[in-house]
């Protein structure tokens, strides 16, 4: 529903503003060209996007995510102190985080939901500290290789679509750190 409000608002604002500033014809032209350019974009990013989902399927079948979750387990115990004793929950969390890191979104969500169900048993209806941490980790972007964005850049004529990787890693790391920090601080002061 929220996208209905946003989209209707955008189009209405464009029409009213265009009429008021005398740019009606430009708005009309943009309405036609915008839709066409969306399909053009989809076509030009199709190759790269498909290649990467192919590579991700190879990674998934080779068990790369399992190897990564073994590496991550010790660090994750620090983030989920209350859940550290629940082996099954910690395994699901580690698998969820490593699938997110590799960009295996379709695999990450069921694993994360499994972990969330286990964490939720302790306090029905109320989000525990561990559950808040899990959700915040999943609302922050952990993906190491942002393939969809790179496909969009390549489709726009970029020669080195992956040159933003260091910047993406830096921004992601800071964003995740802020989320984790906010969780740890709010867990202390939040009442109820």
């Amino acid at each position: 529903m929220s996208m209905t409000v946003i989209w209707t608002g955008m189009v209405t604002l464009a029409v009213l503003f265009g009429l008021a500033t005398g740019r009606g014809p430009e708005v009309a032209a943009a309405a036609v060209e915008g839709a066409a350019s969306a399909v053009q974009l989809a076509l030009s990013m199709a190759g790269m996007l498909c290649l990467w989902t192919g590579v991700m399927e190879v990674m998934r079948r080779a068990g790369l995510a399992q190897g990564l979750s073994r590496l991550l387990s010790p660090a994750l115990r620090l983030l989920f102190p209350q859940a550290a004793r629940d082996r099954a929950a910690m395994d699901s969390i580690a698998a969820n985080v490593s699938a997110n890191l590799l960009g295996l979104g379709n695999a990450a969500t069921p694993l994360g939901l499994e972990a969330a169900r286990r964490l939720g048993r302790a306090s029905p209806g109320v989000a525990s500290d561990s559950l808040c941490m899990l959700v915040v980790c999943n609302t922050a972007s952990l993906q190491l290789i942002p393939t969809t964005v790179a496909s969009v850049r390549a489709a726009a004529g970029c020669q080195a679509p992956f040159d933003i990787l260091p910047a993406v890693w830096l921004a992601s790391a800071l964003s995740v750190a802020a989320g984790v920090l906010a969780c740890k601080l709010l867990a202390r002061v939040w009442r109820g």
Partner: protein, 173 residues
């Protein structure tokens, strides 16, 4: 270092193929099947791209985007955020495919290698669809009292936007 990032894609392709083949995975069959699934993903996002790229293109043509950016410039620039990317920042937490549509329009309009185009790409790559994710997780577990999950997640989003603008200024002077 630059060569590393230029060669990163072929190196990943080669490394993943060798590792998977070593573990007796039918690499080619997996690659082709995954690529097919990629087409389905693409088909799913095309409708959102059509809707959002049209809306943003109309907003830009009407001059409203420029007007909004200029009106909010003092506040956003004080934070170090480019006002031109405001639509992207507003849509990002609500819908992933919509944010991709808005971001793609901005990247195409300003150029993928311009500071604005780069910042839009880094913002897309370093944040997630917060409200959708929260709805899926808490919905699945039946949580009604979400406590501090929303403010903490939005704090991560805002930091991601600020850090994206900062990282592009730092790494692409």
């Amino acid at each position: 270092m630059e060569l590393f990032f230029t060669m990163l894609v072929p190196l990943i392709l080669c490394g993943v193929a060798l590792y998977a083949a070593g573990r007796r995975v039918d690499v080619y069959a997996a690659l082709v099947q995954g690529a097919g699934a990629g087409l389905e993903t693409l088909l799913r996002i095309v409708p959102a791209l059509v809707g959002l790229m049209t809306a943003v293109a109309m907003l830009r043509a009407s001059g409203a985007l420029e007007f909004l950016a200029r009106a909010l410039a003092p506040a956003l620039e004080g934070l170090g955020l480019p006002p031109e990317l405001l639509p992207l920042m507003l849509v990002r937490p609500v819908s992933g495919s919509a944010a991709l549509g808005v971001g793609a329009e901005l990247i195409a309009a300003y150029g993928p290698d311009s500071p604005l185009g780069r910042t839009a790409a880094v913002m897309l790559g370093s944040t997630e669809t917060t409200f959708y994710t929260i709805a899926v997780y808490f919905g699945a577990v039946g949580i009604t009292r979400t406590r501090y999950a929303v403010p903490a997640a939005l704090c991560a989003d805002l930091t991601g936007f600020l850090a994206a603008a900062w990282a592009v200024r730092l790494l692409f002077p």
